[in-house]
Amino acid sequence: MKVKIIVNGYKKVYDVAPDEYLLDTLRADNFYSIKRGCDNSSCGVCTVLLDGKAVQSCTLLSVKADGHEITTIEGYQEEAKKLSEHFGHQGADQCGYCNSSLALTVHAMKTEIKNPTNEDIKEYLVGNLCRCTGYEAQHRAIKLCLEDEE
């Protein structure tokens, strides 16, 4: 099946199977920033933005993305760089496997919630698992990054 998806602002046409997931379609197109973790909707490392909203690409059928806009971290390089600097300073990443999905989720949160509280941040990011950090340092880094942008 042919599907037309705008990925990071570029029009793309993919030939996909009816039961192919977006994670596989995009990784086959070299978007390696999108990671595969649980592959069953539980860990969030495969998060991309669908029309600006965070979704799990391991669970979204590629046919469902037809006619929609997808953003991966490559679409937010400048913004991601700032967050990644804070991550570095706060010791918020170790292997880095979860970082791009986390940065995309933070971006979605910022567009959805103005001035998020500590609780908002925790609640919004609950679905983004990280096996390395214990979350405290990530939380600090995100707060500092948000403060910088004010």
Partner: protein, 264 residues
């Protein structure tokens, strides 16, 4: 799940015709629960373009279409204001935002999941469902339907009334399913008590409701007795999440907290 063909219907009738063409054809909502199954689907029928994507407020009700995502419901302010946020709160305890942006009202109701954090609060308020062929019925009756007839869930309809409500999902970790979930409401002086994930599908505690609704004054003793009737009348069980005994103790605690909350 394997899908042989994918069909984006343009009308509900078209979707219904396709649904009945083959026993393995089905409607796909967000596809998140189906993804976990080992089903082989001949044609998955998508409702994105049939116009079931809205939350509408009418004079007497709030109508939520089947293809609306749970995240959209969670963020709806009218639901929060009318029903003490119990529906919004129920949804917010389901996994993360990125899943709630995908899963749909249709899939969440039609699946009749026993662990559902959506069905419990919906039962605690006044909810009906509208099916394409079977028409409109109370959510409670829909949940009891055993028919194998293929149909399409179009929307749910929640009566607008000022509800004092309480909802609690007891879970062991942030992203887990409920060990038990409890909804308690008071609407125009009438109490409803719903317990889900027992581990079976959410149900009213009808005897307990009858008892408390016949009391003139709600004393601590009445609340205690009501909670006791709840655990005596509903069936509880053991599964990998928790034992029957633990669920019974938890239910007593949360029913009491709920009743105290709505009688404040």
């Amino acid at each position: 799940m394997e899908i042989v063909n994918y069909f984006k219907a343009k009308t509900i009738e078209e979707a219904y015709q396709k649904l009945n063409e083959d026993p393995s054809n089905l409607i796909i909502g967000g596809g998140a629960w189906l993804r976990l199954s080992s089903k082989i689907v001949n044609t998955a029928i998508d409702l994105e373009h049939v116009g079931l994507n809205q939350i509408k407020e009418t004079k007497n009700s709030i109508e939520i279409d089947a293809y609306v995502t749970l995240r959209e419901v969670e963020k709806n302010e009218a639901l929060a204001n009318l029903f003490s946020s119990i529906i919004n709160k129920g949804i917010s305890g389901i996994m993360g935002v990125a899943l709630r942006n995908l899963v749909t009202v249709g899939g969440s109701i039609f699946g009749k999941y026993s662990f559902s954090d959506f069905i419990t609060p919906l039962l605690a308020v006044n909810t009906e469902v509208e099916m394409y062929k079977a028409g409109r019925m109370a959510l409670e009756d829909f949940l009891k339907l055993r028919t194998r007839e293929k149909d399409i869930l179009l929307k749910i309809i929640i009566k607008k009334e000022k509800v004092l409500g309480y909802y609690y999902k007891m879970k062991k970790t942030g992203l887990d399913f409920a060990v038990i979930n409890v909804g308690v409401t008071k609407t125009n002086g009438y109490y409803k008590i719903v317990v889900g994930a027992r581990p079976s599908l959410a149900a009213y505690a009808t005897s307990a409701m009858e008892y408390i609704n016949n009391q003139k004054v709600i004393t601590p003793k009445v609340i205690e007795d009501t909670a006791q009737i709840v655990v005596e009348e509903l069936k509880f069980g053991t599964n990998s999440k928790a034992s029957k005994e633990y669920r019974i103790e938890l239910t007593k605690v949360y029913v009491k907290r709920g009743l105290k909350e709505v009688t404040k």
